[in-house]
Amino acid sequence: MARSKPSSSKKQPKRGVDFKKIKRKIGRKLPPPKNATNTEIKSKAIILPEQSVASERAGLAVSKKGLTLKELLQQTSHHNAKVRRDALTGIRDLVLKYPAELTLHKLAIIEKLRERISDEDKVVRETLYQLLKLVIFPALKKDVPGSLISLMMAYIFNGMTHLATDIRLMAFKFFDLVVQHYPSSFFMYAEKVLQNYEDILRKNHIYLQDRSKLKNALVGLVRCLSLLPCNRRTVDPSYGKNTETQGSLHAYELEVPKEHTDFSSIIKRLEDILPILVNCFQDFIPLVHPMSSLDAQSFDCMLYLLRSIDLSVKFFLYGIDKHQTDFGVTKPTYNEKDMPVWGEIATPVFLRKFLEVFPLNQLHNTSGKDEDKFFILNIEITEIFLHSNEWIFTSAILMERFLEFIENLLSGKIRFNSRSGKALQEKHLTSLLPFIPRLVSLVANTWKSRLLQAFTMAFKDCKPESTLNLAFLSAIEEMLLPSKRQGILLLDASEPEILDHQITWIRELPVLLVRLGDTLSSLSKVILHLLLRLGQYAPMNSSLAWEYDIMQHTLGEFYSMCLDDGSILYGPFMKLPKDCQELSVCCLYYFSSLDSLLLRSLVYCCLCDNLEPSVLFRIIDVLHSAYKIGHLQLVDLISFFVTLVARWKVLPGRLYTHVENAKKISNRETFKAITGAVCSCLRQMGDDALIFQIVQRVILDEIPLNPPIDNLCGMLRLLVILDSRPTKLSEQSIIILSNSISEYLIDAASYIPENGDEVTDSNQISICQYYLVPCFFLFDRSDKLLNLVLDLMGSSIGEDNSSLACNHDTQHTLDLSSRIVAVVSILLYMHQDIKIRRRLSSCKGEITRILQKMRLQLIDPCWEQ
């Protein structure tokens, strides 16, 4: 367009002045000038398509610098290290801002990022590590396909064999990261990874200088090895086992092959790696002895080396064990022939050599901090020793050294100096305690007693809230009871010294339980479980069973205690969660004769309002069962039951049943249920006549205490259930009963609906029936009782009439009038019952006497007021 401008021709002459004049012929077209092209380029408008993309970026996810994911990924392979690093941080920003980007493009991202695993620049690798660790792996936690891992692994392996040591060590770190997040990936690549570890450790002298790097690599190794299966010594898997299963037990279960790991290749690799680990460790030893201090890095390296050795030893043991349980039961003779498969033929020789270094000691006394380090290392070595103990027969001298160390550790002669030492010591002791039972059962007698002595002392000194207690308890369980797997006792309880220790432990248990209170219910549960097992498994008539019986004296405090001033101090039982309460109640069943003192403290608990009714019913159940197998005296049980019925506090949820005191009514329902439970127990006991005699005696002891109406009703029910017609009640008890029944009836009369024909609250009627029916049964069975009761009712109206006649007490008169109303309504109510009506007809004399008394009262001058 510029070319056709006429102005261009006008300007031509001017140009001619400055430069060489060019002659032009008129009418001829000029060739395009050179500088005109520039405008053309400009008008092409500066990479316009890119500009337009920039405008569309508004909808796209960009990093802080305004770069898209695609650009960032491209930049990660930039030749400039700084750009690469920036790109990585950019990805980090972007992913944090837009998590959806990551899930959408995870494959692309990983594919690009993995290339940086063996980046030459240290900072870039470090940034990548942080990026993966903090952002990408946590975000992808849930859905990570195996393909992603395999994408990474190819480059990680590449890194592991890289020439540059930095990159190699870093690759291990990356692998550690992967394993951390996806533990199963270790098994997929175990062989290759272990091979690489082997290579790197073999050349350890190269890295000896750079210990922090070596440490990093070893951390990864420890993590990998800890994934290997081993015999886990958990406290007791059966306690917390969750049996919440699917709805249908016979349903078809999809059999998914679990870990398809072939351990044989791992075993082979580990066999190779173990000597190298030991060598590596021994390379460190010269560092230890002459030097006065041990720097933190090499200490860590040593520690991790030891841990790795420990873990691989454990794994071998697991193999042997598994082998035995698989085939040992049916074909025990093949054991020895097959065992070499699991690779312990070669190991013992150098392991024994390795263990010779124990104990690591310092020649010169230095700061406490260092001592701690040596202590930790020694403990680790001891642990390895204890693990391997089962298949290496060490020399006696070495054994002595270890045993002495363990003894010192238990008895606290060796202590940590540093401030955090206490916690550390507990932690390490926890790891050693599980070995004690086995050790004690194997070592010679002198050591046995020394170890047990130290163990018992340590257990006694242990604070109740200490975490060590769990370990102690499981060790004690192992030493007291026949083990679950073997079914045989580890320790021979016939030896008096061992028995002494066992008794000490048992005596310590209830004390510990009481001291714990409700602070650590999980620990209390373990103790109670141990007690239960002891009750179940202690051989009959043995001294252990005897000791278990004695324990009930101290266990009373666990339930409740009656103080000197008559108040009751509730023990931890009341506050523990329900499962603990159930366990402790079950323990009662196994006492071969339940002590009445324990029953008393139990009854205080039962009478407490805070006890959940379900636990109360369990107690009734268990005591009844204990009685059935002869662990409880009949009299004791009956007095327990009667006390329960006589003293259980029924909250006075009176006549009117509003919504807000619905709880009070449920309390009465609970009482009814208790009475019902007690009744059914009493009826199942057998000889009704005998039981009736005992119940009658106990109830007559309770009645003079004037129990509340509900409790009296409960007791009457007990009598009625056991009694027959005609009554078996003795003369004397009829007299005592008649006294309280007359009062009781007058109290109960307030529940009688006022007009028989009027439809009143059905609840009230049922309450009224509940109160009166037991009396009617008694009247039906004994005329004498009815006569006496009527007599007493009459005299209660007319009694000391003369003395109070002049006493113009309105209170008294009101009282009297309500009494009369009550008696009348009772008589009317009784009249409605057909059976009782028949009985009443024989006591016309008493009734007329009552009526006369009433008339006398009515003409009494007091009424005129």
Partner: protein, 400 residues
């Protein structure tokens, strides 16, 4: 003829009723049985372990033949026997002692073949799996143990093995009251009830707890539906709870999780349960001395029998052979005339080696079981065989 037999801990004899017609048969006298202490040995005769007062150290097991109400054979084992079980062809009787030992007798000779220490406390119930290779025992301490009968007699194997039993389940905290097994021999499930108010379902093949169900009351007896969809749990509160094994139960109803219903007759506690062979009629014994027959499909009571005033503690549904017919046919061609039922085997031995002397003296008579029974039971021990051979020899000497 399918009959219900029931016994009681008070002396009320063993009641016997025809399940389908309801007619009462003979009542066998003087029996005070222990819980789970009634067994029908190979349909030939009844055996029951007796409650003894605690003063006597030995136990007692009595035999009744079908045709006579009196006790025919009395044996006195070394200690009180609680549960008693026999295998289906009546070759063996297995009893659980109050010390926790299990006794294994051969019926034909009365020999005590094996006695082993099984539990730390008294054995409360015993049963054999349906292929009779496994013995399951429950004890007062809540422990359940599964024994392979094969292993029990393999002394060398026992010593080599880590534990004499196959499994030991100790999840129950209190006494095991009853157990029942499903079909499938060593792959079956077993259901156990305990005084800790739970029932637990175990897998024999995997040796682990499959399910634990909490009940509102103590369960005294369990019976398994033949289809293994549900099991019935007779409780001390008089109800029979129905708990699901194979149905999906998501919501917990008024009774608790997995409990789908009850059979209830407002009776006293249920003490024992048994299913008829057809799997429709459920027989329950109660504390109040009655025996109820329920239709498990409609949940109705079909029939009520009355045994005694005291509680019932054993109920069995067994097939009773019609002896009268068979005997006449036998008598017609048998040279020895047998008026009455076949003679019962000798009493059970007290100690493991006690009967050796008896054999030498030749005082014990050969069990004269009907020929058909011998066909049923081909596995007589070596002991009995040698005796029979020697007697045959004597017979031949006489002939010659």
């Amino acid at each position: 003829m399918e009959v219900v037999i029931a016994s009681s801990p008070v002396d009320a004899g063993i009641g016997c009723w025809d399940l389908h017609s309801g007619a009462e048969q003979l009542r066998y006298r003087s029996c005070t049985s222990t819980p789970h202490g009634l067994a029908c040995v190979g349909q030939r005769f009844l055996a029951s372990s007796q409650l003894r007062d605690s003063s006597s150290s030995s136990g007692s097991i009595l035999y009744w033949s079908w045709s006579k109400p009196q006790v025919e054979v009395k044996s006195f084992p070394a200690e009180p026997i609680h549960p008693l079980v026999s295998n289906s062809d009546g070759m063996y009787i297995i009893g659980g002692g109050s010390s926790g030992a299990i006794y294994f007798w051969e019926v034909a000779s009365g020999r005590l073949l094996k006695r082993w220490h099984a539990h730390y406390r008294a054995v409360t119930c015993l049963f054999l799996s349906d292929d009779e290779s496994l013995l399951v025992s429950g004890a007062e301490d809540g422990c359940i143990r599964v024994w392979s009968l094969f292993m029990v007699f393999d002394d060398i194997g026992m010593e080599m093995a880590k534990n004499p039993y196959e499994y030991s389940f100790s999840e129950h905290t209190l006494r095991v009251t009853d157990m029942v097994s499903g079909y499938g021999g060593c792959n079956a499930i077993i259901v156990s009830a305990s005084e800790d108010r739970t029932c637990k379902v175990w897998s024999l093949s995997r040796g682990k707890l499959l399910r634990s169900i909490d009940f509102p009351s103590i369960i005294e007896a369990v019976a398994l539906d033949p289809g293994e969809h549900v099991f019935y749990a007779g409780a001390r509160d008089g109800k029979i709870y129905i708990a699901s094994i194979n149905a999906e139960t998501t919501s917990s109803n008024s009774y608790g999780k997995h409990i789908i219903g009850t059979l209830s007759d407002n009776s006293k506690g249920v003490t024992c349960l048994a299913f008829s062979k057809d799997g429709i009629l459920l027989v329950s014994g109660s504390e109040d001395g009655t025996i109820r027959v329920w239709d498990a499909k409609t949940h109705n009571i079909v029939r009520i029998y009355r045994l005694a005033k005291g509680p019932v503690n054993n109920v069995l549904v067994v097939r009773r052979p019609l002896y009268s017919n068979r005997q006449t046919s036998e008598n017609s061609h048998s040279s020895f005339s047998r008026r009455h039922a076949p003679l019962l085997p000798p009493p059970l031995g007290k100690y493991v080696n006690s009967t050796d002397e008896n054999v030498d003296s030749g005082a014990v008579s050969v069990p004269q079981t009907p020929s058909s029974d011998i066909m049923d039971a081909p596995y007589l021990s070596y002991h009995v065989l040698t005796k029979q051979i020697s007697e045959l020899q004597v017979f031949f000497i006489f002939l010659s």
